[in-house]
Amino acid sequence: MKSNIISDFTVKRDENKCIKCEVCVRQCGFECHQYDKEHDVVLTDETKCAGCQRCVTYCPTNALEIKPRDLGYRTNYNWSKERITDIIKQAETGGMILTGMGSDKPHPVYWDKLLLNASQVTNPSIDPLREPMELRTYIGRKPDQLEIKDREVITQLAPNFRIEMPVMFSAMSYGAVSLNTMESLARAATEFGTTFNTGEGGLPTELRKYGKNAVVQCASGRFGLDVEYLNTGIMVEIKIGQGAKPGIGGHLPGEKVTQKVAETRMIPQGSDAISPAPQHDIYSIEDLSMLICALKEATNYTKPISVKIAAVHNAAAIASGIVRAGADVVVIDGIRGSTGAAPKVIRDNVGIPVELALAAVDTRLRKEGIRNHASIIIAGGIRSSSDVVKAIALGADAVYIGTAALIAMGCALCQKCYTGTCNWGICTQDPYLTKRLNPDIASRRLVNLLRAWEHEIKEMLGGMGINSIESLRGNRLHLRGVDLHKWELDILEVEGAGN
């Protein structure tokens, strides 16, 4: 069947500048560029272009320019290019439209409508260059009260772990991302003093040495999950849902299930790695409690157990159930959360913004008097240090960053993660592509990002007259809303600006 799809991008090659070095041919895993020896010319098939800008970045003579392409149809507000293209694609294949990364739809970003406070006259701001500023955070269950006898704490404390800044790397599984990507995250987390997250693909043996900084996941596919793996990590995370695809499972495409991935996941090479939609031993809060307790038994009560859910309509009630089921950490992943592969219709339409879910969950747990029983970590669309500060003020204990970390490593948000052809060597298992990501360089870029955010967070805290992130946690008086409806301000429990 002749495809009616018009390419997403136009690729313009300046023939005067092109020296036919074939860098673009080699760099493009999608095989857009081909060198025609006979006519000594580099030809381009635009329909294959993902817009990842790899060839543009690496072209030594700046001969290439890639731009999004308009369909050229008559302008129609109702029928955007994306809608038309999707329908053509479905008419030609009969399949669900797959996509990668977080939703690119204009869901409201409440971080941009929340503004931070600063000290003026009535209390002094603090200069972080001159005074100590504490961002250190402990993740895990906190006691209801502390009993102290002879200057010693005698209360039995639940396991907690320490991170130097309330920013952790999001779950990215081995299989979805390359081993080099995981190693970069692991090394950066270890150097900085935070954690990376194995996702559900297991922890390859090479990376077990970074276990003290690893959050290990237990998801529905139970890939790579044995008792040694559970005891290697610093925390065990039960993944119930993901912000990019709430309520559905995952199919890691067979192209990415190489021998090494097959070995770690214990599935046939080349098969799709199927993660069922629910965990089949969890059909209720009571069942969740069963798995939480099983993981605590398996790790002999030495590690906090976290439960990750997608931000959905009843997130607050669900979170309350999770905490009562015995979880030490609740993770909420919002609708802007990212993924390696998800049906686009789910990614763009299911779930709610994480800011509203966070505010609702924090409020609910405080009202029920169980907020201290669990830390709250949020994920899904944390783009900058100010998002982190606002999240902490709304009630989060820490945030996960995924897309930000990927961009630091080179990701160009082309949303083609599900193809297994990532020209930046991140979301692929093709050895020709994975070696493009050098863990020495990528981990350095990640640590740089964390250091930069650390400075910025300290400046923002200092400006508010606060010298410890603990004093900001759940302190919504430091936030003011702009351009928000009353119902939104009510849920966020934030005053409008000027109040």
């Binding site: 044995d226 080349g270 199927i274 599900y418």
Partner: protein, 279 residues
């Protein structure tokens, strides 16, 4: 042979009198005895852990009544040749994440036996509940009687690490769903013909093998699943597990079971859901 089971309502109940407990215990081997009566699972499992830490290789737990996670918390002790005998009815998640020991249950068990187990053996002299062997990565499970829903789903294997589940009685729906590896043998002993009502067998299967004694209707089986007769080699594999089953439970002779025909369920394609997406 029907005398070994008495039918009560819809479920098959084990007749405790026929158990060969006396033969199994008091063999003169030094063993640690634990009494589970009235104990919370955390207490019982700590006692078990302590016994294993002290080097016990034979442990018997009596009066078990719903205690969960037995055998789970033995990391990182040496569990080679560790044999735990459980008398009573253990609770959910018996041997979850099990990593080496052998657990023998003289009684029925509840849900999620051998959940995500990695190595070792679980032998149940009775019936079990749902989700037995979910995500199982290695080791073997033998069940004398029937099992519940969603049994042996998403089992895995890699190279020579092939988990196996052998069931004497009947299964319920979603048997062997999403299977990515491993071997399941269903002997369907004591199962009246009208009892074969389970559906969605092997739905989403993309690895491993299911062997069933007798036949199945095509509408009972997931659409991703192919049905064929086992090869000679596969009959030898079945015989290996059947022999072990008979040795454990002593209710049948392997020849009596092996004289019947088996069917093999196998995944027709590696990527059952590969064609539901548009790239």
């Amino acid at each position: 042979m029907g005398a070994r089971y008495t039918r009560s309502g819809r479920s098959w109940k084990l007749n405790m009198n026929t158990l060969t407990i006396d033969r199994q215990i008091n063999t003169g081997v030094e063993c640690v005895k634990l009494d589970a009566k009235g104990k919370h699972y955390t207490v019982l499992n700590q006692e078990l852990r302590k016994a294993v830490a002290n080097g016990a290789k034979n442990i018997e737990i009596y009066n078990v009544h719903g205690q969960r996670y037995i055998g789970t918390n033995l990391y990182p002790y040496d569990v080679a040749n560790l044999h735990i005998k459980v008398f009573g009815t253990p609770g959910n998640d018996l041997g979850v994440f099990l990593n080496g020991p052998k657990i023998e249950v003289f009684g029925n068990t509840q849900d999620a036996v051998g959940n995500t187990m990695n190595a070792g053996e679980i032998v149940v002299h009775g019936n079990t509940g749902d989700i037995l062997g979910y995500g199982m990565r290695g080791g073997e499970i033998y069940v004398k009687g029937n099992v519940g829903y969603r049994v042996a789903i998403h089992m895995k294997q890699f190279r020579d690490k092939v988990p196996a589940v052998v069931i004497g009685g009947a299964m319920q729906d979603f048997f062997g769903e999403y299977m990515a590896g491993g071997i399941v043998v269903l002997l369907a002993l004591e199962m009246p013909e009208d009892h074969r009502h389970s559906s969605f067998v092997g739905t989403g299967m993309h690895g491993g093998k299911i062997f069933i004694r007798g036949n199945m209707e095509s509408e009972q089986i997931g659409k991703e699943v192919g049905v064929t007769e086992p090869t000679e080699d596969e009959y030898r594999v079945i015989n290996k597990y059947v022999s072990k089953y008979c040795a454990y439970f002593g209710n049948y002779q392997p020849e009596d079971i092996m004289k019947d025909k088996f069917i093999k369920l196998y995944p027709k394609i590696l990527r059952p859901y590969g064609n539901i997406y548009a790239y």
